[in-house]
Symmetry: C2
Subunit: 451 residues, 2 copies
């Protein structure tokens, strides 16, 4: 008898949005089972359940936090499972998020045109095929090129034999493009901190994956001459560039003389590692300097960048750069006393403003709640705990080094945060947008993807 | 030649809103000069300029953070100056904020009625007189009753002579009602932690001052029988009660066995000190347990409560409970898929939503920026620095004990944060509301005060 009341109180999630959560839960379950196999570990002994669940969640949600050292703990089979989970998670989030974005813009588009065919709101098989094909093509192309450069460099510069060079090249290329941050070295990429042939291809793959598939489609469509970019693509590219510049600048300046991080490199090395450290919070999770040795201020800047994250319908996490930018535009309009919010020459619908607000503030709530629980469970400083929680929720994967030591309950909390951070913003934003009731529209409007 | 461009880019603050900033700057200047006098200190030697500026700002903005111990450093003259600044600051913020609230609701009201007398938007002298008289009356009444109870208790329970009992009673009553948090004891009120005759009158005065003058007016007007409360009063009372209950519960439970805080008291003492600690973050700043010894989780809960603060147009700081509640209602409506935001049976104008968003997010920005600067300037942990910054911005006055040691630059940063936190939200919210351009209204609407 409680059901009708409950249904009225709780959000009535629509199926298209819920699909993300279900798909990710299934992939994580399958990954957990595979990683529990004895053959998945180097020693041939089964790992405990929570470690397997944590690792599978971290891989499928392309987070990159680890409770056991990837190369020493997992066998080659285990590493390939992780690689597969990363690829499935990355392709999955790009495909589903792109389809949801298409569905949202099509429904709202239909409503604007006031056509009678409102029944044909759904996506057909052709849409799905085109999106899947596009996502797979872009992913494989980027991963192939990045793999080739990395393998060549590892073979020629570090004396890896061909097989090992290709394996390491592919693993880190896939991990980079999917913003996963898993590495086959206990120190992540610290040993390559001053090697531009390793760091730059990885940084470029990270940025490419983090832009999001819809932006790639536009870049491809408009490759000849001048064209009109969508609000979504413009915001994503501009905000990503701005945050990248700010992050690189702040981190490089703040750490310039820190002997534990940039201080031990020459000027070229400082600039390279500073740039690399500016790219990784959006939200790749590799590190070429020891995150635990960063200045407190640098950690806070990282917190902010990790929370914002990357582009929608890409492999990056966080609340997404569009969500952040929309809120900035709303504040700017309000402070300037403008009755409507204009973004780059277009009017921003009030519903998009409310959706951005909802995604951002519920995310703040999740981070605060996660920090509170983890502070209570562990003896670590707030600085480290907040960083860890934002890293998990933003599916970033950077850590000050406490991940393995936050206790089993802490691992479960981080697992939940990784899952929520991966499927939460996209599910929430699409569910909200798909449920919008008809409203009057006075002006042509345009909708960027929120979340 | 830059002026027209600047004017277009910068917010065009209207006079009524700007008055807060100017009035507070003047009061702080006068207070700084008085506290610089040699006779203001116990030893008869002039204090340094930044300490005087910090103390005057802390008093006028009713914050309560101190860089020097109030009873040992300042002479009785100095203490009376501080008391005067608190009273001026408290009366000032209540008067100005109430008048701005009146102005906002009257202008918007006129627009709704579509009368031809749109020119009579301004407040007349009668309004000002009524508000000033009301604010002074409520303040003095509360302060008198609280003083009497405290003085009686100090004289009978602690053997103070009559003069000293009255002086201490008045000082702490004024400090409490104005949510200032200045105390005449080096340990704030720790020595009275289990004395209900001291703690409860102070807690009640704090809550009363923090409700805000507009709520008191309604309580007075509707004192007989049933009546319709305004949305503003309902939200303020409900949210204040809810946050008070949550804060008390969380702090009491989290600290129950902490030997440095509640652990050393009996059950009655634990409950009293827990309740007191639940009241003080909204935003009084007294403490009856050592804040520096609180659990990390308790500090974070305090951070959240201090950031939210108390009621509008009262003596409390923070972004205000209405701002917080409005955002919660917006999120609730969005998650439930409702096209308009309904609050307690009324429609919430979109402009109020945007104003709440602007106040809250700019405040988050101020706190993050302040934390970043203070982390860079000082060697303290993020936990302590974040707490200090929110305490300053929320005009709370609680501290983990680092206030005196954050260096002179740190003191200037905190001074700016106290000033911004006091005048920022109210100035911003009124300026935004007063500048609203005409919009169509479909339904009867109602506007709570934001900020
Ligand atoms: K990641
Ligand atoms: K205070």
């Amino acid at each position: 008898m409680l059901r009708p009341t409950l249904r009225r109180l709780l959000p009535s999630w629509r199926r298209p949005a819920r699909i993300v959560a279900v798909a990710f839960a299934l992939a994580i379950s399958a990954g957990t089972v595979l990683l529990l196999l004895p053959m998945a570990t180097e020693g041939g002994e089964s790992v405990d359940f929570v470690s397997a669940l944590f690792t599978a969640t971290s891989a499928v949600c392309v987070t990159g936090l680890v409770v056991v050292d990837t190369p020493t703990h997992w066998s080659t089979f285990g590493e390939v499972v992780i690689l597969g989970l990363i690829q499935v998670g990355g392709l999955g989030i790009m495909t589903i998020a792109s389809l949801l974005g298409l569905l949202v813009s099509r429904r709202l588009g239909l409503r604007l045109q006031l056509t009678a065919q409102a029944e044909t709101k759904a996506l057909d098989l052709g849409d799905v095929r085109r999106v899947v094909a596009g996502v797979v093509l872009v992913s494989l192309a980027f991963e192939a090129v990045t793999s080739a450069v990395l393998a060549t460099r590892l073979a020629t510069g570090y004396g890896y034999d061909t097989g090992r060079a290709i394996y390491h090249g592919v693993f880190h290329a896939v991990s980079a493009f999917n913003n996963a941050g898993f590495a086959l070295y206990p120190d992540s990429l610290v040993r390559f901190a001053t090697d531009a042939w390793v760091c730059l291809p990885i940084a470029i793959a990270v940025l490419a994956g983090g832009l999001g598939f819809p932006v790639w489609v536009e870049i491809w469509r408009h490759r000849r001459g001048r064209h009109r970019w969508s609000m979504h693509a413009k915001i994503t590219v501009i905000t990503t560039s701005a945050l990248l510049a700010i992050g690189t600048l702040v981190i490089t300046v703040a750490e310039w003389n820190n002997p534990e991080t940039l201080g031990r490199f020459g000027v070229g090395g400082k600039l390279l590692a500073g740039f690399f450290s500016g790219v990784m919070p959006r939200t790749a999770g590799f590190n070429s300097v020891d995150v635990g040795q960063l200045e407190s201020g640098t950690l806070l800047v990282n917190d902010v960048l990790m929370f914002i994250g990357g582009g929608s319908a890409g492999t990056a996490g966080g609340i997404k750069v569009t969500t952040f930018a929309l809120l900035a535009f709303v504040i700017l309009a309000e402070v300037r006393g403008e009755p409507t919010v204009h973004v780059l020459g277009r009017k921003l619908p009030a519903t998009a403003q409310r959706q951005a607000l909802t995604v951002a503030l519920l995310s703040v709530g999740a981070v605060v709640a996660g920090t509170l629980v983890l502070l209570t469970l562990t003896p670590f400083r707030m600085e480290a705990v907040l960083f860890e929680v934002i890293s998990a929720f933003g599916t970033v994967g950077l850590s000050t080094g406490i991940t393995a030591d936050v206790t089993t309950w802490g691992h479960l909390v981080l697992t939940v945060l990784m899952f929520l951070g991966r499927v939460g913003p996209i599910t929430l934003a699409s569910a909200l947008a798909l449920r919008e009731r008809s409203r009057r529209y006075e002006l042509p409007e345009e909708r960027p993807i929120v979340g």
